[in-house]
Symmetry: C3
Subunit: 427 residues, 3 copies
């Protein structure tokens, strides 16, 4: 395809003002204050660790942010091929005027200092948002988050429910739930009541989605009160449940959440396929992997039972994309959602984007979310996606199917912004 | 690769006269009479439904063909990115002189009327075949089809066996079987006898293949008469079988069919991996999906047991293609067959074609079949395939390996026509 | 991407002197003596068989090498599209001055005779190594190989352990083990002792890796002596074990090998996913296939238990590549290793290479190994890889990310040579 065509479309896509529909931003500290906030992103620590740096060296307690950055820089040469490192360079170039080809022993300190100065500017957060053309940012809030002290119009709450579904067996989860809702969980009915209170609290505070990440072996299904009541009572009494019993409780809570999503008209973001702590000696947040032997057929009953709930679906393994395309092509309530984690690299984004653009109705695709922990990452991550998207629009649509450039760009706008507005009800 | 080279090869491939080795054409009404026949193809109804149109709106009983088209047109804007909609536009342009960029509220009625006039011409069916360079068309016939009243040289019968294998437990299937063969199914021997009669009937009427679509969890295996006899007797006595018992009957019937394929020298088309009615509230024919956790290792015993039977294999999930390439590379009786349903989009056709052309002997590949219900679809669907094929031949063979253009085109001819002739014994 | 850029990078990659980190070379007869040695490679016999030639014709006992080649040539026309046939042509052109477009009835005898003369030259082996820029070659040695009579600096021993892990139940394996180590295997302790002797023997003779190929359903796990002792005692007493018992023995031996890899600091090459003798009527070495339903999660416990052992991992199915990329990105001891067997075709090499180069630290990737049985194959196989690699470096790195050509070439050198030296400790 013509490079100029692709570049023109890319520039148009770059000019779109974004709503980022899934991040891990802390709204009380959304932007970074030092390079350690940026390089502390698990991608850099886990890749540096994978490339040979001991975890103890990376995560030594008490080291200063600058010391931490200095240590990580020692390992960067082994990672300079990764797309993740290209995000870091993009940030340093765009926000801090960095001009080197690599960050290394010879230049990192100057970069550290100049970036720290920049980030100390009073309006740094606003600068980042503005420069990144980022208007609104979805959060990932613990179920007991008070949702206070920040602008919920800019930072949109999202009820994250992993703990409720998969860790209700822990006393600490039940205590947090009691503290948040005033309800002491002792049976199925009290779980339903408590969840209802959470939805009420979140929706009153502007939440636009419920979300959860799910291991590959989980299959949602309804559970009767009669089945789950004795299990929850045993939990409340301090018992530990066997694995299959705990899975029954998980299914019950999950199904309850879906019912509330239906009642409160909240989309339910499903992030399917992660096994937690596969590598327990890994760095913080660098321990999870997956088992590709998962199928969306496991969600058949759920998708049928909740026709009014929109399920934006992210899949962790690239080999799950074809199922996602096909399920979104058939089920009205299944929507493709971004490119998640291990699938979030250009090679796989390209394949997944091509197939989605070709076979899923255009109003059922959420192009991208950043998944970021610090605001500075929206720019390079969305840019990576927009570059791939521009190539697909240029090659498959303008050249392959004779679309006009403006028509292709409109399609891109819908994927990047329009669908986010409509599906989550924000604008 | 050079665009001109690709275009030249594409034009050569377009000039090939085709035999379409798998369709759902009704030979008594092969061509369309209104645009509703064309837009009633499940791709359009299911995508429109998926994009938000209620099933009741699409499938309301008693609405006229024109009303149906009008309603579907309301939903087309959400689908205009899909490759399936590009087939529709291709049909309207090629056959009805349509010149718009999209079919919409402003132009559909004129299109409807002019196309209806065109389709009313007496020789419409012949026009479509001629314009599409389509010489012969394989059918999908119910096992109790009388195969009368049509030209079996043009419309080649194919014995479809899903009902026999997976629904012999239904009284209605056994009644149809008795009516077709005069044999009352009461034990294993009578099943064998009845199947033999079907093969005899089909082969005498020019059938060139036996075919079946298979769910992901099915594994063919031989079953002894002693095992299956009591089960069939119970069926005949009106009993319902448990799931595992029904699977035993399925395996018995399937194996019996393979034995007759061997005896009658019929290829046995296996279409592997579909789960039926995953979404029972979907539109007609828009309810099936798949579970990618299927492997061709499930067919190991079958492929070994029937070395004389050719098995043209279609896989539903794209992640099954590498297994298919590898099994066709090793087993003399395994042949790659087209690009089926959810895998029938250019992104996946391209990947699958590249790998097959690179690793499967050239005489063991059936390039494409249309799977169409109405004749008008052969043209755009084969064209989509030929475009992809032209790109692969130009890029990987002419440019990548220094082949001459004519050599590449000959290879394309073999994939599109030569292998169909030889494998199914038609020409 | 620009063709000139790709070609320049390719030429630079071609100039790199190689260490081939995995082959099946017989160091006592490393090079071929006739074209039958070359065309007897299982790729040609199995593809000719798959395309229609009877096994008995290909493998008839007592036929001369020339007769064998003549017979295979009859079947080559059906394979001329395969990448494997392009290797053969490359060999004939590079080493024997062949100038035809295809090898056929009209030219094969002249080729046979001229090539035989060439291969009869006294220094043929050295010529091949020199012309292929091949410096060192890893072997695949049976555990009871005396490792004598060849230059272990050029031909580097590698302890292959399939027999020990999966066939200790055979009396013949235990007899070979006793003969090689002097230890009569009667319980768990004696197995450990014997394995220790093997490692000692191999490491003293310059071995640089332990290796094994593994079926898809195997999951490594530690086994206590108390569990395995009675099983091994029963084996020693002549009993046959049930499948699950045999799997327990396999797990025990496997874990023992991993412990010795840790002690002797040997990388443990895992080649994951092959089912043996799926097609027992196939030609020699053309009977194995795979079940894609395998996951690296099966190796979770192993990777955690042996942080000091480097595991270069090859996967047989292309759908396993994303897991491999992700596990290598997280686990410090997991390394990506080449493109194995059914995945060793350009379409899949390209996808796998792109994703690895983008997401795995650059010091954790072994670009390629030839897997060859005869020295002549290193040249065309590595060339195929280098062509793909040049395309990825040119497109994704120089054009896509603005890398300089020399930086891209250095990366290629690391993948092709540098990492092999460091990971296996050779240079």
């Amino acid at each position: 395809m013509s490079d100029q065509l692709r570049e023109r479309i890319f520039q148009e896509l770059e000019s779109i003002t974004l709503i980022d529909p899934h991040t891990h931003i802390n709204p009380h500290a959304a932007a970074s204050t030092t390079l350690a906030d940026i390089m502390g992103y698990h991608y850099y620590t886990e890749l540096a660790h994978s490339a040979g740096m001991p975890r103890e060296h990376i995560e030594e307690p008490g080291i200063s942010p600058k010391e931490k950055v200095g240590r990580l820089v020692e390992g960067l040469a082994h990672l300079d091929n990764t797309i993740q490192l290209s995000w870091l360079l993009d940030i340093c170039r765009e926000f801090f005027g960095f001009e080197g080809e690599t960050i290394d022993a010879g230049n990192w300190e100057a970069l550290y200092d100049s970036s720290q100065q920049k980030m100390a500017e009073e309006d740094w957060e606003d600068q980042v948002l503005r420069h990144s053309r980022l208007e609104k940012v979805f959060l990932t809030n613990d179920f007991d988050d008070p949702l206070e002290g920040f602008d919920t119009d800019r930072y949109i709450p999202c009820l994250r429910t992993d703990d409720l579904v998969f860790h209700l067996g822990k006393a600490s989860t039940r205590q947090r739930l009691e503290k948040a809702t005033g309800i002491d969980v002792g049976d199925a009915a009290s779980v339903v009541l408590a969840c209802g209170k959470l939805f009420d609290h979140f929706v009153r505070n502007g939440a636009r989605a419920c979300a959860i990440s799910i291991p590959p072996d989980f299959s949602p299904a309804p559970v009767t009160t009669g089945t789950v009541d004795p299990l929850i009572q045993r939990l409340a009494g301090g018992d530990e449940l066997a694995a299959e019993e705990a899975a029954t409780v998980s299914r019950f809570v999950f199904w309850t959440l879906a019912e509330f999503c239906s009642e409160y008209k909240l989309p339910f973001d499903l992030m399917i396929g992660v096994n937690r702590a596969v590598y327990p000696s890994g760095v913080y947040q660098g321990q999870d992997l997956f088992d590709k032997r998962v199928s969306l057929i496991q969600y058949r009953e759920l998708f049928n039972a909740f026709p009014k709930v929109t399920f934006p679906i992210s899949v962790l393994g690239q080999t799950s994309n074809h199922e996602l395309v096909s399920y979104a092509w058939i089920f009205p309530n299944v929507v493709t959602n971004g490119h998640w984690w291990y699938s979030n690299i250009p090679t796989y984004i390209e394949q997944d984007t091509r197939s989605r653009l070709e076979a899923v109705p255009r109003n059922k695709q959420i192009g991208y979310y950043s998944d970021m922990y610090k605001l500075e990452f929206a720019l390079p991550k969305f840019r990576m996606y927009r570059r791939v998207l521009a190539g697909v629009l240029a090659g498959d649509f303008v050249q392959g199917r004779g679309w006009s450039e403006s028509r292709a760009i409109q399609f891109g706008q819908q994927l990047l912004r329009g669908n986010v507005e409509r599906i989550f009800g924000v604008n």
